[in-house]
Each structure stands twice: as structure tokens, then as C-alpha cells.
Amino acid sequence: MDDAGREERFQARIDAGERIEPKDWMPDAYRRQLVRMMSQHAHSEVVGMLPEGNWITRAPSLRRKQILLAKVQDEAGHGLYLYSAVETLGVSREELIDELLAGRAKYSSIFNYPTLSWADMGAIGWLVDGAAILNQTMLTKCSYGPYARAMVRICKEERFHEKQGFEIMAVLAAGTPAQRAMAQSALDRWWWPTLMMFGPPDGESTHNDQLMRWRVKQKSNDELRQWFVDLTVPQAQQIGLAIPDPELRFDEASGHWLTGPIDWDEFWRVVRGGGTCNRDRLEARQRAHDDGRWVREAAEAYAKKHRT
């Protein structure tokens, strides 16, 4: 069978809802897209540990401290599951980390924003994890087996992440005036970047069509974004915080909450390196990597000496 025949057979498997497994034949472009998507996702989890890790030591109660530490620990685990999934496609974790630290691989740009108060922990859990859950729920149906299975595991663990974030915000919003102000400030700063997390509008998204055809994605960027807005606006109303969008309105005809315009200049500026924390995030990961080298080497040296 020639490549054209193989591609047809491959697409037929996709259309029939079959899962593609690591040793199956797949078009080079499919393999490349999946490596890109999965590794970006893995990098996002690992870099994502940093903005929240920033507040573990200052968490204001023992319960919050434990919850936040458990959440960030989960994120390490998610990164690990995802790196494992990429490795099924023949790329090593070493290579993936190398790409990240060299600035050749991307991670979700939301993590280039700074966490400036305890309330940011609430905003991130509620909004950023809330957004991630929608994306991840969709990906449990992804055509590539290892990715879908990693996503099922991640989704189970992710549910408490969003709930604890929303709980933090609700408690703050019902608290002292200073706490309420802290929560509103966090919502003001994290709302728009979260909407940008879903990526550029459908018309401008380069990989969208091909990924939908291969059933890697099932919903477009705009669909996911709208789904998120519709879920989240009532939640903000429920706890008495204001979405920072003067043009936000409910459209009776469609049944959707419509937002004002998203500042895509900001999105591109941050993606391309102009966010507040881009440099700090990579420096932190580079330092952990460099400082850890002697440890990793020591463990291997020991294993070599004591191999039975």
C-alpha cells in the first residue's frame, strides 16, 4: 500500500472513531502535530507550577497550604503523564526539556502573568483551571490513545483544582472589605488572559481544521471560549464579583453571554516574550534543571555501580 492509500485507511479509522496507538502507521504531519500539542501541554503543566508555587509558603491557613501544595503536586504529575504520552511517539523527555529551555517550545502563555496576591490563587484555580478542564474534557476523546488516556487521568484530578479556586474566591468575596478588594483585583487581572488561553479566533487559528479532521480536537477555540464564558459569568454573579468587561451582555436570541473585544495585541505580545514573567519562568526552570544535574547523575552513577 502506498502512502496515499495508507492515509486514506488512516482517515477511515479516525472517522470510525478508532484510537490510534503508538505503533500504528500515522502520517508524519499527525505525529508532528501531536508531539507539538502534547509537549506544549506538558510544558504548560510544569511551568504552571511556578505562579502558584509562589504562594504555597504564604498560604494563610494550614488547610489552604495543604490544598495548594497538593494542587501544585498534581500539576507536576500531569506534566509527567503528558511527557510520558509524548515519549510514546519516540521523542525523549531530555529532548523535550531541551526544547523548552532553549525557547523553541511553547507553553500556555497564561503562566507568563504574575501572581500578586493570595487571591490570585483563587482566580487561577477558578478561571485558569476552569478553562483547562473544558479543553481537557474534550481531549479525553482525542484520537491518539496515550493522549486520551492521560487526559482521563488528568480530568479526574483536575476537578478539585477548579473547586478549591472557586471556594477561595467565594470566601474572599464574602469576607472583609480588604479580602473582597483582593478578590476583585485578582479577577480584574486574570479574566481577559484566561479568555486568551483558548487561542486566537477560529479564522486565524492555523492548525484548527486539520486537528478537527483528525479528531484531535472536537471543538474550536471560539466554541470552547464561549462555553467557558457561559459557565463562568453566572458563577461570578453568584459570589458577587464583577467581570471586568463593560460590554458584557446576555444575548436572548442565542442564549449566550457575549463579551467585549479581546485585545489580541496583548496576547501576541505576551506569547512572543513580552509578558511580565516570561523570563523568570524559564530562568526558574533552567536553574532547577542545572542545579539538579549532579543529583540525576549521582543516581545513575549509583545504579551503574550496583547493577546486579
Partner: protein, 103 residues
């Protein structure tokens, strides 16, 4: 990058988890470890911290011998051609009921 050895993230291991006694061990995923003892500890922290887990197996990925898609259909028999292996192939009187009276 210089010509030095690329940094190692340790060998890859596969993890199998048994949720309760009597269950088979199921593949949970993989992780990196320098040896079996640390692989077991990592497996416990990564794949068993939410429980329930009663047993963990870890094995270096390179030690797994597996079939490939090219192996089917010849290596892995696809359909129920040898249907005499299946109980439903058989007709005849149903098993007699155990009529032993309960004490």
C-alpha cells in the same frame, strides 16, 4: 550545545497497578527512574497517591516485549473462527440443577 552527553532524565519505566486483591495489574503509565527501588517509590507517589492500590509493578520499558500492528492478523487471531472454543457453540441439555436439599 556542546558535544557533551545530553542530560539524562533517567531511563523510562512502565507502571502496573493492582487496585484490590483479586484484580489484574493494569498499565497506569510511565515514569523516569534510575533503578527499581526509586521506580517503585515514584510509582507509589505518582500513580498510587489517590488509592486504592494494593500492589505495584514497575519494569524498564526496554524490557517489555510486545506485538506490533504488523503482527495481526497472522500472529493475533482476529475472529471467532475456532468457535468450538466458545461455550455458546454447544447445545444439548442444560446443566442439571443441584437438587441437594438445604439443611
Amino acid at each position: 550545545m556542546s558535544a557533551e552527553q545530553p542530560d539524562s532524565q533517567w531511563p523510562l519505566w512502565e507502571v502496573f497497578v493492582q487496585e484490590k486483591t483479586g484484580d489484574p495489574h493494569e498499565h497506569a503509565g510511565s515514569l523516569h527512574a534510575p533503578d527499581g527501588e526509586l521506580a517503585l517509590q515514584a510509582a507509589r507517589d505518582v500513580y498510587a497517591r489517590r488509592g486504592p492500590v494494593v500492589s505495584l509493578w514497575v519494569v524498564e520499558s526496554e524490557h517489555i516485549v510486545s506485538t506490533t500492528p504488523a503482527d495481526s492478523p497472522s500472529f493475533l487471531e482476529p475472529g471467532p473462527e475456532k468457535i468450538y472454543r466458545h461455550p455458546r457453540f454447544y447445545t444439548g441439555p442444560r446443566s442439571t440443577k443441584n437438587t441437594a436439599r438445604k439443611k
